[in-house]
């Protein structure tokens, strides 16, 4: 299943990891606990409003700040199926792949897609369809090495295979 379809929640530039999951909740790493507070300081009540399969569209430098892997874990556990942004902070970018949260880079899609739009994403081709506006976008291709890690089932599976051989 490579197609995702959901409602868009929109956020601004430089959404930091404290906005994604405030550090005051980092006394646990339980995904369901973290999910309850996802995006709390950026959009109070987000965790109660977001539905499984919904999509986040944000501005540049998404996930800046801390290295906390709790950030992509919280987003994923809140039900968000994909995050689209023009750029991601580099530690968040790696963490998203390592925790299995789909993220796509597209400045055009991030600028054009509005809150509440219904969007369909083909994660294999990186095609983003704004079903509300009828516009289509193409995300930046995933780097080859990252794709290889994904094909292997993620970083730990990649290592598990290597260490077993």
């Amino acid at each position: 299943m490579n197609t995702i379809q959901g409602k868009v929640w929109k956020f601004g530039d430089d959404i930091d990891t404290d906005a994604i999951i405030p550090a005051r909740y980092l006394n646990t790493s339980d995904p369901s606990e973290l999910a309850k507070h996802c995006m709390e300081d950026a959009d109070t009540g987000f965790a109660g409003k977001v539905k499984a399969g919904d999509i986040m569209v944000a501005g540049k430098n998404f996930g800046c700040g801390s290295s906390r892997e709790h950030a992509p874990i919280a987003i994923k556990a809140a039900g968000v199926a994909c995050v689209i942004a023009p750029t991601f902070a580099r530690i968040f970018y790696r963490n998203a792949f390592n925790t299995g949260l789909l993220i796509l880079e597209s400045a055009e899609a991030a600028a054009a897609i509005e809150a509440g739009h219904e969007v369909a994403i083909n994660s294999t081709t990186g095609t983003i369809d704004d079903l509300t506006s009828g516009q289509q976008f193409k995300a930046q291709p995933i780097p080859d090495f990252m794709q290889k890690l994904i094909d292997d089932g993620g970083l730990m599976e990649h290592w598990r295979k290597r260490l077993a051989s």
Binding site: L26, N61, C64, S67, R68, E69, R90, N98, L163
Partner: protein, 422 residues
């Protein structure tokens, strides 16, 4: 081919003669570290991998510093995961309460991170060790788990931005101010995926604590690492502390940089970064003119929790008191810093000033514990982040500064210049 210091360290650890920006490498790590927030996830991932032992029981470091002394049951459970794992693995460098300090103050002090090292830490401020001439970068818990198990990590070799500082800083201008000013130029994503190499005559005479403040905040411009080539100042710091051999690297004179920024350090005033981003830096004179009343001052953190930082704060607080209703928190970065504060009479100055001295902890810097802000409150902090809700309620505010500005502000109850006090 001419190489930058970052490229040389990465090539060395990848077993290659040279590397170029964009190249993917698998590199050996010298040190892999995590704290009580990030290690529990890393340990869970490590255990899923089915590996019995960490790659090296002297080079996997666990530092429970964020929610310690544990503030509640949940955080105690988190710390217990680290303790149990350290016992089971026989880790030589696990730091219990009483030995622990703020990781990025503690590890350089103890000589556990050294020039030429490749260091990954499940903490974004791991970049601090670039001040020693190491390649050090923050990673997530899963990347760290793989490094703990294999001693290896993959990297894309970054391009390097060169920042050259000229001139002698004015009185009260610290490394903290140089980096806040630099982040103000670069903005919070200005060095995304890139290395930030800092050099020039200003850096040549900048003491280690100031260099550590600078490398510490490279991440606030989005950088993969911040780095300063090791010199005599570095060696003076490292020689007596190093617990193993180390290697000195330096950029070739004709190394290629993607961008060069020249900064006249003599023209910079102490900086204050306004909420909610570290790149909103302005001169302290502007901040003082804005008459910003404050409720709390925090002096400490991995950015400014070293003995020199407290000497600076004490030089202003001596014989003076925190303003009425002001909460002034002093957080020594390590037990050694604390001991030195006592020896030099700084603790007495702080107590006389009606400051509260906290044990070493990250505590309020990340809004964890030990000094949380209520709605509508404002703090001046010598920490590194002023994001929304960083020190407490989402409607509280954090202004970032050096320890002198923080001390002056504590005395006057509003953001103030050091000159207003002395």
């Amino acid at each position: 081919m001419a190489q930058t210091i970052t490229e040389k360290i990465l090539a060395f650890h990848a077993g290659l003669d040279e590397v170029e920006p964009g190249q993917l490498i698998e590199a050996k790590v010298d040190i892999a570290l995590a704290n009580d927030v990030t290690a529990p996830i890393a340990i869970a991932e490590f255990e899923k991998l089915g590996v019995e032992k960490v790659f090296d029981d002297e080079r996997v470091l666990l530092i429970p510093d964020h929610f310690t002394p544990n503030k509640d049951i949940k955080s105690a459970e988190q710390s217990k995961i680290l303790r149990d794992f350290a016992k089971q693995q026989g880790l030589k460098n696990y730091f219990e309460i009483g030995r622990v300090g703020i990781e990025h103050v503690l590890l350089p002090e103890q000589g556990l991170v050294l020039p030429g090292d490749l260091i990954v830490g499940a903490d974004s401020h791991t970049c601090t060790y670039g001040a020693l001439g190491a390649f050090a970068t923050g990673v997530g818990s899963t990347d760290l788990a793989a490094a703990m198990a294999t001693g290896k990590v993959w990297f894309k070799v970054p391009e390097t931005i060169k920042v050259v500082y000229h001139g002698k800083p004015a009185p009260w201008v610290e490394g903290k101010d140089l980096i806040l000013h630099t982040i103000g130029i670069l903005k919070v994503d200005g060095a995304l995926y890139q290395a930030l190499e800092m050099m020039g005559e200003t850096i040549d005479t900048l003491p280690m604590y100031g260099r550590m403040s600078m490398a510490n905040m490279a991440i606030e411009a989005g950088a993969k690492n911040g780095i300063i080539a090791p010199d005599e100042i570095t060696l003076d710091y490292v020689r007596s502390r190093a617990q193993r051999d180390y290697t000195l690297f330096a950029s070739d004179p004709d190394a290629v940089y993607c961008k060069t920024i020249e900064i006249d350090a003599s023209a910079i005033r102490p900086q204050v970064a306004y909420p909610p981003l570290p790149d909103k830096s302005r001169s302290v004179d502007q901040a003082a003119a804005d008459k910003i009343e404050i409720d709390q001052v925090v002096i400490g953190s991995c950015t400014n929790g070293r003995i020199e930082d407290f000497r600076l704060a004490a030089s202003l607080l001596k014989g003076r008191k925190a303003a009425p209703y002001m909460r002034l928190l002093i957080i020594p970065g390590t037990q050694d810093v604390y001991r030195q504060m006592i020896k030099e009479g700084l603790t007495e100055i702080f107590i006389d000033a009606e400051a509260l001295i906290s044990p070493p902890t990250c505590g309020p810097c990340l809004g964890g514990h030990m000094g949380i802000l209520a709605a509508g409150e404002r703090a001046v902090a010598t920490t590194n982040r002023n994001f929304v809700g960083r020190m407490g309620h989402p409607e509280s505010e954090v202004y970032l500064s050096n320890p002198a500005v923080a001390a002056a502000s504590a005395i006057l109850g509003r953001i103030a210049t050091p000159e207003e006090v002395v």
